[in-house]
Structures are given as C-alpha cells and as structure tokens.
C-alpha cells in the first residue's frame, strides 16, 4: 500500500480513496519517517478509511506505528448523523493515557546538587511498577465518584487546587461518564490503583528548558530558559484496559448485528447512536476521568515532594493532555460546523487558538502539546495551530515511537548498563525494573526531533520549547 501513496507536499502524503475506502487517508511525515513506517500502518489506515460515517480522511501522525485496529498515531472523526461509528481500537486500551506537564520557578542549577535526594524521595513516594498500589483505598461507591468526577474528584479530596482544573482537557472532568456502563471487574481492578504510575513506557521526568522557539507562547505557558519542568506520563491503569477488553467483545457482536464489515478484530465498532455505541462512549468517559484523577493525584504527590525539598518553590500546571480518547468536538466541514466524534489513538489533541475549550490564558495562543522523547534525549513542548485543525482535527503526534521491539532492546542492552550510561551523562534514572529500563533504552526509540520537525513543518503544531532530561522515574 506504500506504493499507492501520492505526495501532496514535502510533509503530507495521500492514499487516494479506492475500493471500500469511504475517504482518502492522509499521512504526515517526511520521506525518511514514511519509508520506515511498517506496512501495517498503511493497512490499518486503509481499514479505518473504510469505516461508516468517517469524515474527510483517515489520518496518521509522523510517529505512526502498528497498533490495535487503528495505527498508533491514528486520528479519525465520525459523524453520528451519517451512521458514524465509535471504535474500541480508535481509543486504545490505556484510555486517556497522557502527559501532565508542570512548570517550576526553579532553575536547573538550583536543583542539580539536590537531585539525588529529590529522586530518592520521589521514588519512595510515587507507586510504580508491577503490582504497585496507591495509598488511596476506595469502596465501589467511591470509585464511581472518581469515574464521574475525574480530576475534579481529586481536587475535592485535597489533591491539587481548583485552578488546576482549567488546565486539563475537559476542565478535568469528561461529561457523560456513566459508571453503570463499566463492569464490576474493571472497577474491582482499580480500587487500589488511583495514584499509581504503572510501568512500560510510563514515566515521571524532571527536565529543564534548553531552547525556546517562540517567546510569546513560552511566556503564556510560563516557560523560561533553564527553568525546571516536570512531566508525568500515565493513564487509566487497569480500569481503562478492562473497559477496552470488555467492549471488544460487546462491540464485536454489535458490528455483526449492524452489518458493519470488520477487517481486523480490534477495529470492532458500533454506530455512535446505537445502545452499544452509547454505552461504550459512557464507559470510555469513565476511563478518561479515571486517568485524569490519576494524574491529578500524582501531580499533587510530586508537588508535595518538591516542596519538601524547595519550600519556597512555585509549581504550576501548564496543561494535562490525553492521547487515547474519543471526544465530541465541533469542527468545520465544507463550511459547516459539524459535531464530530474525534478518535485519537496515540495522538495528542492540539486545538487551535480561539477554541472555546481552551482556558482563557491560552485562548490566544492555542493548546499546549507535549511530545516525549526518551529518558536520555530531548522532549518538546508545542502548541496547536489553525492549520492543524484543517488537516487533522487539531491533532499532533504523541511521542517518538519505538524503533526497536522490546525483545530486541532486551537482547541489546542491560538495564543496569542503560542506567549507568545515563548517569555518566548526568541523568539520574530510578527504575523499579532493570528489564523495564533496558526496554526503554533511548536507542530503542526513533529520533523524536525528526518526528517533531515533521509535525511542525506539516503545520500540525508549532514548536515552543525543547526540554532536556535531568532525572527519570520508570515503573
């Protein structure tokens, strides 16, 4: 399918509509990234373009790779009024996995000396890794409150401040969440997991601003050269995964019932306006709220640790973005404002300036976007653009994307060596698992700068700042 692509610009490629495709597929990447994308990305993007009710195009971000139904880095919008569907594969298993970025008024030079102690404290405070439990214990009723309230629930319980909510997608609480659509098993698995980091590619990283590309937007985000920022990457933990697992079965049956051809098991879906589709949307909203609550609690715990070491420091949330979601948004289609169900699987929402969803202080500049690199390389802070809305429903990539499988990384590196190598470069890594550290070795990922430049040059987002790692906590 790679051979069928037509080059639209230096940064955009099109798979023209053919056969069962209802719309074309668009890929945003430079030639090098495109050539390195595995064949499954094109097959999965083609399959997404065949789904009922899809609008304009099936879209892949520069970090796209083989996913579950949708490619990771896949974006698609569906119109309920024209039979549009909602898909488990379009959201993913770790519902609302995302990044929260906190800025500080500390300069990197101020904390370097204290970093080892700070990391020890964070390591003992933030639950991470296999079987980790949070300090919060919930009853079934209390967990339902989390699923409905999201980060708002966490603030009500004393985790963070009310001001934080304005700087979280959905103002910290996705509407339409209905815990009755979530299985008892999903809830049972989550009682002890609120306020935990998890493992795999999830992390807590202390970084500093190395370079600023747009002073005006950096000012709006509270970023200055050399200032310390904290990034937290995690999601909805077991609950999100169980919702995905449960609804794969439910929507699998629904797809048959409504006569929707399914080209890959994880692309199962149901019409948005069907009972099954509506229930999945409400369950997924619970997953989103669970993730938002989780990151709100973690953000509060991190802040408390920082304040123990730097009592006069000021820490402020820049923004909290989600990667694996389906959200109802209004976008212009052929000059008409349409209410669409925008699926972003491994892609970041990146709304343009002027969007009403944004907090007032960011409305003039656009939505903050965080694209993580690795524990040894840079990450980027970017902002949404008007062009990005025209091209990809206001979406951007979400990370570097793996260049090497976890098995290959394990064969190539030992966790202890990875941590020692990073230490020799002044980067402290605290890892719960040596295996995890090896799997997440910087060399196992693609060049994040190439991915970010492709997104920037395509006009999906605009670069604001580059940050470099000082320390990383891995599950």
């Amino acid at each position: 399918m790679k051979d069928e692509l037509v080059q639209i610009s230096e940064w955009q490629w099109e798979m023209p509509k053919h056969g069962p495709m209802r719309v074309p597929a668009w890929l945003f990447a430079d030639r090098g990234l495109l050539l390195n994308m595995d064949a499954k990305v094109f097959e999965q993007l083609h399959n997404v373009a065949c789904l009922p009710g899809i609008v304009r195009a099936a879209v892949a971000m520069p970090d796209a790779h083989w996913g579950y139904g949708f490619p990771i880095g896949g974006v698609a919008a569906f119109d309920a009024e024209t039979g549009g569907i909602i898909s488990v594969g379009g959201v993913g298993y770790d519902i609302s996995c995302g990044v929260r970025c906190i800025t500080t008024d500390l300069a990197r030079q101020e904390i370097t000396k204290w970093l080892p102690m700070l990391m020890e404290d964070l390591f003992s405070t933030i639950p991470a890794g296999v079987g980790s439990e949070g300090k919060i214990r919930l009853t079934p009723e209390k967990l339902d409150e989390v699923l409905v309230g999201g980060a708002r629930w966490a603030v009500e319980k004393g985790y963070g401040s009310w001001d934080d909510l304005e700087r979280i997608e959905e103002h910290g609480c996705m509407p339409n969440a209905d815990p009755s659509c979530v299985s008892a098993l999903a809830k049972d698995r989550q009682y002890r997991q609120v306020g935990t980091l998890g493992s795999g590619n999830h992390y807590l990283e202390i970084q500093y601003v190395d370079e600023i590309y747009c002073e005006e937007t950096a000012n709006a985000f509270g970023l200055t050269k050399d200032c310390v920022v904290i990034s937290i990457h995690c999601g909805s933990r077991a609950l999100g995964h169980q919702i995905g697992t449960d609804y794969i079965q439910i929507l699998g049956k629904a797809a048959k019932k409504y006569g929707i051809p399914i080209r890959e098991r994880e692309l199962v879906c149901a019409p948005i306006l069907s009972p099954e589709g509506e229930r999945y949307f409400k369950a997924m909203a619970c997953g989103v709220n669970c993730a938002l609550a989780n990151r709100q609690v973690l953000g509060h715990l991190v802040k408390a640790v920082f304040l123990r070491h730097f009592p006069s420091a000021s820490l402020n949330l820049i923004y909290d973005v989600s990667h694996n979601t389906c959200k109802v948004e209004t976008h212009e289609v052929n000059g008409v404002q349409k209410r669409l169900y925008v699926h972003r699987k491994g892609a970041t929402r990146a709304l343009a300036p002027g969007r009403p969803e944004l907090p007032e202080e960011y409305r003039a500049v656009g939505q903050p976007v965080f694209i993580g690199g690795t524990m040894g390389t840079c990450s980027y802070i970017l902002v949404g653009t008007t062009k990005g809305e025209e091209l990809a429903w206001g979406s951007a990539c979400h990370g570097a994307g793996r260049a090497m499988s976890r098995n290959a990384a394990l064969k190539r590196w030992k966790g202890r060596d990875v941590v020692a190598s990073l230490a020799s470069k002044g980067i402290i890594v605290k890892a719960v698992s040596w295996q995890g550290a090896a799997e997440e070795a910087p060399g196992a990922y693609k060049d994040v700068t190439a991915v970010v430049n492709a997104a920037h040059n395509a006009g999906l987002v605009k670069k604001v700042a580059k940050v470099l790692p000082m320390a990383c906590l891995k599950g």
Partner: protein, 138 residues
C-alpha cells in the same frame, strides 16, 4: 519441546506457548505472559490456588479471554501465576491455577502486562505441536 517463547512486536511483546495439546499450549502461553512480569517464573512454586473459567466465540478469542482473565485475577488477588491446569471444551475454558503473592516474591521483577490483545493471535496445530500466541500490551 520448549514450553514457551517471546516474540517480536513493534511496541509491545508477543507471547507464544507450545504444547502437545491445545490445553498445554494455553498453559504455556500463560507462563510466557507471566515471565514478562517475573523473570524466574519457572522457578516459582505456587502457594495459593484458584479455580477459574472463561469463554469466548472461537478458540483464538478464547486465548485472549484466558490471558485477560488471568491478568484480572492477578490484579485482584495480587499474585503472579506460575502453574496452570487447563481444560478446554468447545469455547469454554476451565482451569486450576496456582500463584505466589506479590509480596512474597524476591526475584527480579520485569514489567507489568496490561492486557492480552487480538494482534498476532493464532491458535493452531502444526505437525504434532500446538501453538497458542498473541501480543500482550505492556
């Protein structure tokens, strides 16, 4: 015949169980999955046991259901499973499974498996061996 192996996947990890019977291949796929979480899984001796069951619409989907059921139980009871006695009839699986509580583990831990997926899902007999495999999300 080796019991299991892990195989390549771009972002996650593939688990493959082998066996003389489909039951055994499912048991060893489970062992493969928990070897991602606990590196010395084959050295563990189960100290607590459960009886569980699951069902699905075909034998491949049953593998995903089986592995996801184990992940759920492991989460709920805070154990790592290391022994499995599986019986499959049509698309229903029953099993007696044994594990070790997480707080009693002393060996090196790996990474958490979040769920079993339908990717690279394959259950079949080749020559005299059964293979049961899929990608798990970590």
């Amino acid at each position: 015949m080796k019991k299991f192996e892990l195989f390549e996947h771009g972002a996650d990890i593939g688990v493959r169980g082998f066996g003389k019977t489909m039951n055994q291949a499912f048991e060893n796929a489970a062992l493969a999955m928990f070897s991602i979480e606990v590196l010395d899984i084959e050295d563990l001796v189960a100290t607590c046991f459960w009886q569980l069951s699951c069902e699905s619409y075909d034998q491949e989907a049953l593998l995903t259901a089986w592995l996801n059921t184990l992940i759920s139980y492991a989460d709920l009871y805070r154990v790592v499973f290391c022994s499995f006695d599986v019986t499959i009839a049509d698309c229903t699986l029953t099993a007696r499974v044994g594990g070790v509580p997480l707080n009693e583990l002393h060996g090196e831990k790996g990474v958490e498996v979040k769920g079993a997926t339908f990717t690279e899902l394959y259950v079949s007999q080749r020559d005299d061996a059964w293979i049961a495999q899929c990608v798990v999300d970590v």
